[in-house]
Symmetry: C3
Subunit: 319 residues, 3 copies
């Protein structure tokens, strides 16, 4: 079966997941993002690559931050961006997801940026849209958050240059994290020799070894000599649940403090997809410290999303 993200020429048509995305496409996105980083330094940051295109932000799940970064990226590319307040719309009148999508497509949408609580929803949409329409997954359930994964790769490449000699530790609630899943697929595709998943057993999914990931239940072991540490947000609802004793105990065991960070390589970088729970998964001295690249991640995220939107949009014309 053809990868549903690629067109007949093997070009990126939708971005749904980093699972199975060819290395050459990931690298092209990162290289294209480089050029947009330079544009951002100019006084006029807009380029006309998507002029005349209608990009619809369809956030079935709220995320002001991610929605805003996509809106910024699309407007920098001169697209017409429409934010749909979908939580108040016809879906609440009982219309089906596909009827909603068909209707918006009939409004001459060229691209949908979709955030949905249900894993796989962007696939369903991509399967049904007209051939010229593109779908970008902005996070679906626990499944994938591919643009976050790509901006994480951009960040790592920016600071570490070469992926093929790195040790990367992903720490925290791996089980519920679409970011972790996307990062793991990208890291292994890009040839990172050692990827570690670090967390309590209750927050580690099955199947990690099969994905080429080492499992560590102790933080100290997990980040030892690491080049890159990706801290995950601990969802508040997990802290109240049966999976964890308490936020305090989680911090004691898995919170990244300056002392623990010393176990990693001296030039290790610390990443976090945000929003942070200071004092839960990360200590403020680390979050604001010299090794933190958490805010550069956000800036790189705009350029990476510009790259994804413009590459996907250009595929259509060649199809």
């Amino acid at each position: 079966m053809r990868n549903p993200q690629l067109n007949a020429n093997g070009e990126l048509h939708h971005l749904l997941s980093l699972d199975g995305l060819p290395r050459a496409i990931i690298e092209r996105i990162l290289t294209t993002a480089d050029s947009f980083i330079n544009i951002a330094a100019r006084e006029v940051k807009n380029v006309p690559l998507l002029r005349g295109s209608a990009v619809f932000n369809l956030f079935f799940e709220n995320s002001t931050r991610t929605r805003t970064t996509f809106e910024i990226a699309a407007r920098r590319l001169s697209a017409d961006v429409f934010n749909l307040d979908i939580t108040r719309s016809s879906t609440t009148k009982g219309e089906s997801l596909l009827d909603t999508i068909n209707n918006l497509t009939a409004m001459q949408a060229d691209m949908f940026v979709v955030r949905h609580a249900t894993s796989g929803a962007p696939y369903l949409i991509a399967k049904h849209v007209a051939p010229h329409v593109h779908v970008i997954n902005a996070g679906d359930g626990r499944h994938a958050h591919p643009t976050q994964g790509l901006l994480d790769m951009y960040t790592i490449r920016h600071y570490k240059r070469d992926f093929t000699n790195l040790t990367v530790a992903i720490v925290g609630d791996i089980l519920h994290s679409r970011v972790a899943r996307s990062d793991i697929h990208a890291l292994t595709t890009l040839g990172v020799p050692e990827v570690r998943a670090v967390g309590p057993l209750t927050l580690l999914p099955a199947g990690l070894p099969e994905m080429g990931v080492q499992v560590c239940t102790r933080l100290e072991e997990g980040i030892k000599d690491a080049d890159v540490i990706i801290m995950l947000r601990l969802q508040n609802e997990r802290m109240r649940g049966a999976l964890l004793p308490s936020a305090q105990e989680f911090f004691r065991n898995y919170g990244l403090t300056p002392e623990k960070l010393r176990l990693a390589k001296p030039d290790a970088i610390v990443m976090h997809p945000g929003p942070m729970n200071r004092g839960v998964e990360i200590d403020s001295h680390v979050a604001d410290g010299a090794q933190s690249v958490i805010l550069p991640q956000v800036t790189f995220g705009i350029a990476v999303r510009m790259a994804v939107l413009s590459i996907a949009a250009s595929s259509q014309r060649m199809q």
Copy 2:
């Protein structure tokens, strides 16, 4: 009394209702919409007709879909569009509707697109705005939804060319439908010889014969040999009320199925204003079938709204 929608030269200044709107104006809107349909096929879809104009979307009642089509239409015309989240605004602080309108006018609004739960609210607003300001009714109570009526006319003309030899059946909850009311006014104005209202007695308003409409309580009779069938949405709240026994029974009696559709002319088209209740007023095989023009209606709706906005805006300069 002068028609409050027209200026002293008889030109369209506001669009409030299709009731009493001269045939020449309706036809001019449809013809103008034709030219915008062609523009939509270009890569750059924007035209500068409303450049520098401020269009305010005032949706006192939520409708993501209608609001978005107006926003797309206005931005295609290069207007500056402002979406006011009016349900959260000063109206909740006790300010009167007219004070709100006066304030927004003082912000140099050129056009208001108004959706309101109260019939007649757009008339009240049109009566009080400054002479250069235009008001477009985007649906008021059970009264009127004139742009939906116009896009329905555009759709019929697109597929049937001539109005003067058609039989049009409007099916479902006529009583609560502003769409039905606007369609009936437009159809009779455009010379459709046979307009039928089809539904249970509890959902048929009084006064239909006086409007030149035939009343049918049986679907089979109502759609027999029809050229055009307009299915109406059955509001969920009606299904729970005393007016209807159940959604199942409504579907059995008035739901449009492929079998029943065969009673209409072989080339009959099926329309629906959306959002659809599949399995209540319409069977999925009809909704997605070859005779359905439901999605083209949405596309035509953008062009029709562009026509309405640009024609209303141009009236002012001649006044």
Copy 3:
């Protein structure tokens, strides 16, 4: 300590309060606003002064009206404006205000327009943003609403030309009004010889005489021979509280009626920041009367906000 609103050259970098803002800067804002009033009369109202700049509207407290005027002002200056639905965003996920600001800054924001329920929040933000970022206070708690104060000064100058021979009465709930506080600072800075605060003792704050303000508990005395009367909104929640007997009694004692207005100078103007409570602090005959300049205030507000945004933005390049 340096005024936190000014850069090292004494230029306006942030607008946080009118308290301590030099007279020359206030006058420059008013003069700059003049030039934008003329632009608003043109068919194309946009100027390219902020082209390429990203202005983020951060309204932690809802205010559709103020948000819209800032959005209009920024878009007239050709900025890219992003409205953040902050009440639904990560702040509700427990992220700190400064982490939110840092993140948005990393999205390459150039300017934040901030409304916050907590007095001083814009100061905190201004203290922490990167040197090239500007913060505009759009109302913080009971503390300040500087752009409202400036548009009030613009209005007074428009109708009265010279500040140095005026009597200005501010009437109503001075205690809870950030507008009153900003007006008082601006009026005294601009050399108004007589500023009066008029209201019941329960709604008058301490310290008014030290600010150079005369206190009057009787409306008749307070507006006698006044050139300018600024009526304040009585918040609905005050009417139910212990501070006031009832809305009716407030109107009887402090509501501005045509009869009472005759006590002021014959050419006195009546102002109100909106939204009005007709029949509570102001009679409709006054609100809609010949001496009311309430709607011009709104129009001037756009030009004044354009002036503030463009002046603040230009400071950076010289820094």
